[in-house]
Symmetry: C2
Subunit: 329 residues, 2 copies
């Protein structure tokens, strides 16, 4: 099993990406890790020690966080991200992961790795935190801005397979993000998608409101990229606002500072639970190979976890299952 | 100045609606309040005391919270909500307010009171809480599910006039809810609306993300009813989840319970700040008369505040200003 890692993408690249790769290489000695990036820099961070299951693949160029995605992927053929995508396309790696420019990674998935036949629009599918810590797989949260009902249907099918394969759920509940729970609610898109999802070979539980996500009223949340992204940012913004306000409340007097010491462990736990950045790598579902998006602020632990997730997806034949299900229709 | 009050709508109707009307009548003796509803019940709650500026207008029927909006408004001509709307339409009242069925109230605004000439779709425009307690006027948050770019343009104009007239803002900043702050971001609707808003005679500050609302990056937030409603519910859900988790954290040991006593006043303040229900009556902007939607859980204080808001809107000639601006185009 071979996993290509974009060593140059993310806030802590290449140092913590390489560190994470080393940890993953030690944990899973039978997994080949292909570290793609500036070989001199990668070697420097390896510190003279290169395990047998790490291979360095040199890349001259890097796609930066401010590069225009489509332009960057088309022009920077020698960038670490595009080369990692190329490895997946050519079958030299079963998966790639990157903490770099999100738009460029989605473009790499679409243009370099390529779509699964029959999938119209790939979707970015991260996990959203829930009260019970299990999480909801949400798709799409920003890859496809003007979704059609058929796209939402495919998201439901792909998400359902994901939770079965990756999380071992027997019968994942698929919900449609909407403004009310009644079946005739919503805009034209959501009403049309409702009918398609209801007829699909999945466990569709109907409409779910944004405030039902945290209580995990479904295991897979289907939405268009525009409203999904707005929901995500509203959740992130509100959570970080409330946490900050709580901190301010504790810092107001010496007595409250004392009280803060007592509840600090609990509040830190809550903060970690609500940290959308902590929730692991997101898969770009619908491309013909495994493409994992790690958060830009990923550290070595996040990189190692992403490698673990990629391994599970390879072992459970996620992509093959999606391709088989989509071609059946 | 005459304000019609639907005495029968809301969780605490008619008791606290009548109580709020009594408080408003005492505060503003020159304002005529028309209490619409079951006269026997209203009289019972008045307790034998009817101030000179309160008039009871009997209504046989009530629109319930589960009534299908359009059907209910069309069929229940004798309901308190429809009669209140009729009073506005006929010029017998300058404003109406109700804590009843939101959809039915919007339908009453549209079908009974009628639209301002040139306005295609009225919008429900509540205030959203912000960190600095000033709030953001958001429209539309659920009246119009499939908005067109022209509707969003009109929301921007109406919202700008609202904040100038009702809140005395000199040059309110109008923002467009979007998935990024760059000007080419978003879906087809938001991109087209961006161009129209940029050319409009308002202070347009561009795209605003959902997490920029709490830090008040704009004074008026323009959005379509679908994504706006999703943002609202994501904010409400996340805020109430975090507050509940904080409470649980405090209740875990006797030491944390002690700590809770110390910070309780601060946390209560924060809870009130984040309580979307507390944020006062929302106007239905774009109808040819003042229609105020009070939250279903409104108590006497909320009703009295809504009367105050209606008074300001009447005094500042909000509707006339919107009509004049829209007809200029």
């Amino acid at each position: 099993m071979r996993i290509a890692i974009d060593a140059m993408g993310g806030d802590h690249a290449p140092a913590l990406i390489v560190k994470g790769a080393l940890e993953a290489a030690a944990e899973w000695p039978e997994t080949q890790l292909l570290l793609v990036g500036d070989s001199a820099q990668i070697e420097a961070h390896l510190g003279g020690f290169k395990p047998a299951n790490i291979t360095i693949i040199h890349a001259d160029d890097v796609i930066g966080p401010d590069d225009e995605p489509v332009k960057a992927v088309r022009r920077k053929k020698g960038s670490s991200m595009v080369i990692a995508g190329q490895l997946v396309r050519e079958g030299k790696a079963e998966a790639m992961l990157s903490a770099g420019n999100t738009g460029a990674l989605m473009t790499t998935g679409l243009l370099v790795v390529g779509r699964i036949e029959g999938i119209e629009r790939p979707a970015l599918a991260p996990m959203l935190p829930t009260m019970d810590d299990v999480g909801v797989l949400a798709l799409d949260l920003g890859a496809n801005m003007d979704a059609k009902p058929e796209h939402l249907l495919q998201y439901g099918i792909m998400g359902s397979i994901f939770r079965t394969k990756i999380h071992g759920m027997a019968n994942p509940r698929v919900g449609l993000l909407n403004v009310g729970t009644e079946d005739k609610k919503g805009n034209e898109l959501s009403k049309a998608a409702y009918e398609l999802l209801e007829a699909a070979p999945i466990h569709f539980v109907g409409n779910v409101e944004a405030n039902g996500v945290l209580s995990r009223q479904c295991d897979v949340l289907v939405c268009d990229g525009f409203s999904g992204n707005i929901m995500l940012k509203a959740m992130e913004g509100t959570a970080s606002f409330v946490m900050r306000a709580i901190r301010d409340a504790f810092m107001s007097t010496w007595l409250t500072k004392l009280a803060a010491l007592v509840v600090r462990p609990k509040v830190s736990q809550l903060k970690a639970k609500m940290d959308y950045k902590e929730y692991g790598a997101a898969l770009l579902l619908g491309v013909n190979g495994l493409v994992l998006k790690c958060h830009g602020s990923s550290d070595n632990k996040a990189v190692k976890n992403a490698v673990g997730k990629a391994r599970t997806a390879i072992e459970t034949e996620l992509i093959q299952s999606i391709a088989a299900e989509i071609s059946r229709k």
